[in-house]
């Protein structure tokens, strides 16, 4: 990992020096121990801040989109012929590149506007899980060594197996290496356990309708509609989210639980062919809503119905932009 970080810094520095990119989005060490946080680097000398480790949680594609949108908006007041191009470098693991592919498919940026610095990934630590593993103790300091997290905590020294505290999405990740990149740092990471990716969904599918509904309502009851999930999601980039639209107002703002259900339901549904299972929404949810239970179902259907895995290939069309007469399933159609 150290080796990758070194290479990453070298590459970042070179890109900035050679003006290949205007800015690099990566991770730097967080203010708390065993955390990392996104950073924006515009000067070669700042590249030393860059880190790449199992605490790099966020999907940086979200930041790429923000930056590009910001830039586009700033250029709107400039005459078309005088407009400047801004190239954004981004440190991208598998799920980040999937999101970038979706952005490219959805024309949110040009391929020449992003410079993808691919990095292998063996998963990130689920902060809440880690905290739970050490019984809620405060971490004072810590490091990763040989697949183990060694910590000094308010409760003494603790060691946890890394694989036990990886985020759920990482444990079964199918695309932990970048799918596209302009430069690849380090060698590909070993496979995770993708065969198990739908185990949860299958189990849930096996429950009765009423059980499923009870679970859904229970989870949705937790939601306080803070919209953190939406803010974190790289696929949630609508200029005005439906929940904030008027004429018509799609979702009520009152106390009725159905409004929250409808909000979540539609946001989830907007992820058809677009959720890369990066776990961002889950990690930011303050109420611990089990969003992944539902997102994975969307992902599973999309694959089973249309053979599509979100952002898994540059050549794919958005699955809802086409129809395959011969291969799509037709069994949802009612025939009296």
């Amino acid at each position: 990992m150290e080796n990758i970080e070194t290479k990453l810094r070298e590459e970042a520095s070179r890109l900035l020096l050679e003006k290949k990119v205007d800015v690099i989005i990566g991770y730097e060490k967080g203010t708390l121990p065993l955390t990392a946080t996104p950073c924006f680097i515009t000067k070669p000398e700042e590249t030393e801040k860059l880190v790449w480790n199992n605490f790099c949680t966020q999907n940086l594609a979200k930041y790429v989109h923000d930056l590009i949108t910001q830039h586009k908006n700033s250029q709107k007041r400039v005459k078309p012929e005088d407009r400047k191009k801004k190239i954004i470098g981004v440190v991208a693991r598998g799920c980040t590149t999937r999101s970038l592919i979706i952005h490219l498919q959805e024309r949110q940026c040009g391929r020449d506007e992003v410079y993808i610095i691919g990095v292998p990934c063996d998963g990130y630590v689920d902060g809440k899980g880690l905290k739970a593993a050490i019984s809620g103790a405060d971490i004072v300091d810590g490091s990763i060594d040989g697949g183990q997290i060694k910590m000094k905590t308010s409760d003494g020294d603790k060691t946890v197996d890394l694989k036990d505290v990886l985020a759920d999405c990482c444990k079964t990740c199918r695309f932990n290496n970048p799918i596209i990149s302009d430069v690849m740092i380090g060698s590909p990471a070993p496979a995770m356990n993708p065969d198990a990716e739908y185990e949860d969904v299958r189990e849930f599918e096996g429950k009765s309708t009423e059980e499923r509904w009870a679970y859904f309502t229970k989870e949705m009851d937790k939601c306080i509609r803070c919209y953190a999930c939406r803010q974190a999601c790289p696929s949630c980039y609508c200029p005005i989210c439906f929940v904030e639209q008027s004429q018509p107002q799609w979702v009520g703002i009152g106390e009725d639980p159905s409004d929250t259900q409808v909000f979540q339901l539609m946001r989830l549904y907007h992820m058809v062919g677009r959720c890369v299972d990066c776990g961002s929404c889950v990690s930011v949810c303050p109420m611990g809503v089990d969003l992944r239970k539902f997102l994975k179902k969307i992902d599973k259907d999309c694959f089973e119905f249309f053979g599509n895995r979100a952002g898994s290939s540059m050549e794919d069309m958005p699955p809802l932009g086409k129809f395959d007469e011969h291969h799509d399933k037709g069994d949802f159609v009612y025939n009296p």
């Binding site: 078309p80 959805e106 018509p248």
Partner: protein, 1477 residues
Amino acid sequence: MLKDNEKIGAVMVVGSGIAGIQASLDLANSGMKVYLVENGISIGGVMAQLDKTFPTNDCSACILSPKLVEVGRHPNVEIKTQRTVDSVEGEPGKFKVKMTSAPRYVNLDKCTGCGDCAKVCPVTVKDEFNGNLSERKAIYRHFPQAIPSGFAIDKLGTSPCKAHCPTHISVQGYVALIAKGKFKEALKLIKQDNPFPIVCGRVCNHPCETACMRGKVDDPIDIMHLKQFVADLDLNSDTRYIPEKKESKGKKVAVVGAGPSGLTCAYYLAIEGYDVDVFEALPVAGGWLAVGIPEYRLPKNVLKAEIKVIEELGVKIHLNKRVGKDISFDKLKSDYSAIFIGCGTMKSSKLNIPGEEMQGVVHGVDYLMKVNLGEKVRLGDKVAVIGGGNVAMDAVRTAVRTGSKEVFILYRRTRAEMPASPEEIEEAIEEGIEMKFLVAPKRIVGKDGKVTGVECTRMELGEPDASGRRRPVEIKGSEFIVECDAIVPAIGQEADLSFITKESGVSINKWNNVDFDKVTFATNVPGIFTGGDVSTGPQTVVKAVYSGKEAAKSIDRYLRGEDMKAGREKDWTKDLADKADVSDVAKVPREKYPLMKPEDRKTNFKEVGLGFSEAQAIAEASRCLSCGICSECYQCVEACIAKAIDHDMKVEEETIEVGAIIASPGFELFDPRLRGEYGYGIYKNVVSAIQFERILSASGPFFGHVQRISDGKEPKKIAFIQCVGSRDVSCGNSWCSSVCCMYATKEAIIGKEHAKGLEPTIFYMDIRAHGKDFDRFVNRAKDEYGIRYIRSMPSSIKELQQSNNLLITYVNQDGTLAEEEFDMVVLSIGLMPPQEAKQLAANLGIELEEHGFCKTSLENPVQTSRPGVFVCGAFGGPKDIPETVMEASAAAACAEGLLASRRGTMITPVQNPEEKDMRGQPVRTGVFVCHCGINIGGVVDVPAVRDYAATLPTVVYAADNLFTCSQDTAVKMKEVIEEQNLTRVVVASCSPRTHEGLFQENCEKAGLNRYLFEMANIRDQDSWVHMHEPEAATAKAKDLLRMAVAKAQYLKPLKPGQLPVNHQALIIGGGLAGMTAALSLADQGFASFVVEKEDRLGGNYNHLYKTLEGLDTRAHLKNLLDKIYKNPLITVVTSAEIKKIEGYIGNYKTTVQSKDGEKVFEHGVVIVAIGAYENKPKEYLYGQNAAVKTQRELETMIYEKDAKLAAVKNVVMIQCVGSRDKERPYCSRYCCSEAIKNALELKAADPSRDITIIYRDIRTFAFKEDYYKKARELNVKFISYEEDRKPEVVASGDRVEVRVFDPILNEDVNVPADLLALSVGVVPNPENVTIGNMLKVSTNQDGFFLEAHVKLRPVDFATDGVFMCGMAHSPKFSDESITQANAAVSRACMILTLDYIQAEGKTAYVNKERCSACGLCEINCPYSAIQVNVAEGCAEVNAVLCKGCGVCTASCRMNAVDLNGFNNEEVLAQIYNINEG
């Protein structure tokens, strides 16, 4: 030549199948007035009958219906149904067309198409639209979506029964009603024309039965007793039928005589509102009915009951009041406004022979009168009745009943001549009465003044006399005496007119009858009328009734001061429906009318006839053949609330002036009965393809369930037999019908989709899948659906007794015989010239070709022999829908070319008031709830819905209307909108699909934007489908209305965008298609730029010398080039390349690179005519051996007279080289014909040549088949091969040898060839993709351009403003390219003739703030109408291209795109309002 300003800017299109419809639309959309003339009752032609269309299996009705609606509502198109063209005079530019219109009997302006009439119609006939597999009513329309949507009555003429009934009752009508159990209605119908059904049901001489057509089959219908049946039902019912009386007119009429004529006259006058007094000398009413006809035939109480109805109408009958004695005739004249004399002939005629005054001579009339009045008359034991009429029969049978032992008839002719009704004679004989024929009385003998006998002479029959009966001639010296106690002479009656004073001035003729007018029954004295026996001498009851009825009409008119005669003379023998072929009608014996047994009845006066039972009556009535089809029962008239039905419509003539004519009468289907060996019409499970098409149709006779006719079971094995009536010289049809192979394949596939277990087999000669994507379709049929194709023509079909299965015998290719059993057989019947072709051609002044189709020009397949008259569709030869549609557009282009200068002169644009300014206006909704007669109101509680509407938010006005679509409601709606200052209108009625446009026009007329209108469909989707649940239907109507009102408040006034149009065209490609298009555009006055890649124009046409049909293409090409270069409107750029195409419909900018540098053209449309290429073969030693050529090279050798050809004796041709294989799975269409063309030329030059054509299927469709036949006759050999067993070619010096498996010999054969010609086929232009990308249009799997719709839009692209023609579309013949080029021009002109393009109102729009420019809308839009503007970072809609489908809106997660007319607020408002509150 006419000057331009003398021409007429109108075109008549004759025939309204898809060809006529398409031509009309093209013409109408480019400013021409169109008269669409159809001889049937609705438009749509055969396509409307089809279930699906190949090769896409699109629903035929779905794709046709919008066209029907469009043409039906087009302001420039006048549809004229039931018209035939009689003559055409004049010259191109100005023709006078004379037409005849047949009556529809339904006023289309009033008919709402609700179908209530058909519900009550008692007449069912075979439904020809469903291939005679189901039934329809006599009042009908072919299919629910028919245009015009109104019904029509099918009348063959007047049924013989009605025509021959003296009172002209709608006999067929009441028989039909009885058959349907509608007895009350039947009686009412009878009483419209005859108030004496009880009487006439018993004692009529029923000429109707004599005329009855059923008599030609077995026995006539027992009409009289059917009448008795319904009359007796009424008689015995609690409340009898009494007609409604009109308001009193305050005038008095006197009737002399209470016999049938007088009482009839009184009856109808009373209904009309007159006060009628009837004066009767006798103590009973009824006249002869009461005192002449014996009780056993017409019981007195029954007669009384009949007369009672007349009295109940207010008629006063004064008995024992003899005019002239009890009251003077002059008093009547002064006291009454009119008099009817109907006193009958109550005096017996005398025998005028010696001894007549003797006791024992009792005249028949007196005798019967006495008996009937209750007097006991004893004649003695032996009674002679003289005469052969009904009075004689009545007298003789009465005598039997009054106790006389031996009673007999003396008659001077034979039984055959007797005027009495046959059943009377029969019944008399049954009662033991002897009849002495050919006997005439000479003298009465007696003793003491008392009769003892009568001396008679014998007679013989001589020549016929005036009555047509043979005259009896006395045999001299044959006198003999007949002994008897009494003699009853019954030879005639006379009138007693002593009461008519001289002073009255009433003229009396020499037969002592009152003179009268035969139509009005008026006497010579105004105000005095007559009728019945007194005017005619003794006649029948019905005739008397007729005269009374007619006199009543006259009296009414007389008293109202109207012309008594106007319009009343009618020749009932004209239009007689007696020509039907009844040979196929199965015999069903007449119901036996029950009589009392002779032994029981002889001794008393009880009624002999017992009357039919209900079951008998229905059974007997059901025997009716419905000769006239419409029975004229007038049930429809009563059922029609809109009062649309008029049974008195007449044939009319009209003359119309037009500038050009397009003939598109379509085709006739071959009658498979002419191929008797297939048993069609005899074996139930043998059906024609069109019948099978209907069987497959969801709206067909079996609702799409595939079933056998014999038992309704789903078949398993089903055989299609091809070429029934095609390629068959034995029935005179040498041509190939072009479409059968494909429709059979389609029907097999669809059949299998409907019935999974189906195993279809198609027996064929050659599979002709020569159209675009056809081979792929056939391959799918074989590979995916497992449909079996057998190359053989079955020789016969036999039906198996038990199962009704069919045993097909056929010969295998190797000559062995095979037999196979099938559950069902479908005959793929061919296309014939339309039945009326000859007559139509003569009337239009055009020639037919040898097969009877329309003769057309080789240079322009839509030009007939008469300039200014064009043809399209199957009338010019059998063809498929896309070719038909192309021809229709091409014919339109040619007509427009002729009349371009007069465009827009015959049409008047609609003027609407200025629209109200809606800014700041609150929403004020007006609701109109429709009863639709009883269609809605009969189920839904309309007033309740109206009241409910008034309670809804924004509603300020709510009303209900009988018919919201009627003209008067339209006027009212306009007033209400203005008065109430409405800003929204909601109509709850029928379907917006049919009526939205109409109501929107009403809004516009009131200055309200048409998009502020909304509908609730409470008929088609409510009252009609929940007829038995009125409460639920009412609740649903309220819901639907609430939803509509809720939506309406969000509606916005829309102003469709406009875009200016550049009036020039870009034509890409300068081949035959491109050149033709340029010239055709120039004819219409439009400039074009022709961009050609090569250094010269002509394309593939440069390589052609002659067509198969004999056109000298070199000369044609030269002529075209001449014209092109001389035409100032055409700019040609050769050696040019298109660099860039920018813009869209109406406004294109194209950059072209040529030798002379870059040029930029601005134009409004693009015609893509970039052609295709000849395939360069790699196989069969081509390019390696000099003996191997392509057909094109061979053609050059032939026509350039290549010296090498002289030595060529053996020629082999291989077909499908590079076509129909894995790489190019399509047919190149023309290769078979080209090969045959070259073969025929080679044979003509040297008949000793040995020519072999090795082929897959010979695809010489339509008339090209004749050349194939000729080639076979000239001994050109044909060997077929399969794709997996291709021939092999080996070099043998400078020659080659072809080795091929011959399936007939069942072995390989080697054919030596001095020359091997390869039919190499066509490959698409590789530039299609580049050009396609520039124009945003796509290509199909084979690389040819993809049209907007393969059937109905074959020259359009999905993107508006871009058109295609020639081989860029698909491989085709040169004449087809010409047609398609003209078609493309026609389509292009619809745009070029516009100054502005009007966008649809209901288009998509983008909310920029919400858009993230993700482009999903762009990918989803089928019309390239929405695109992301990258610079602006949001999507933009091109409103002109947008069709308003809304796919973009639903694909947008951001809800940034929305759709006018169906926007999110509007739809959600509906959703939120499904529940109240």
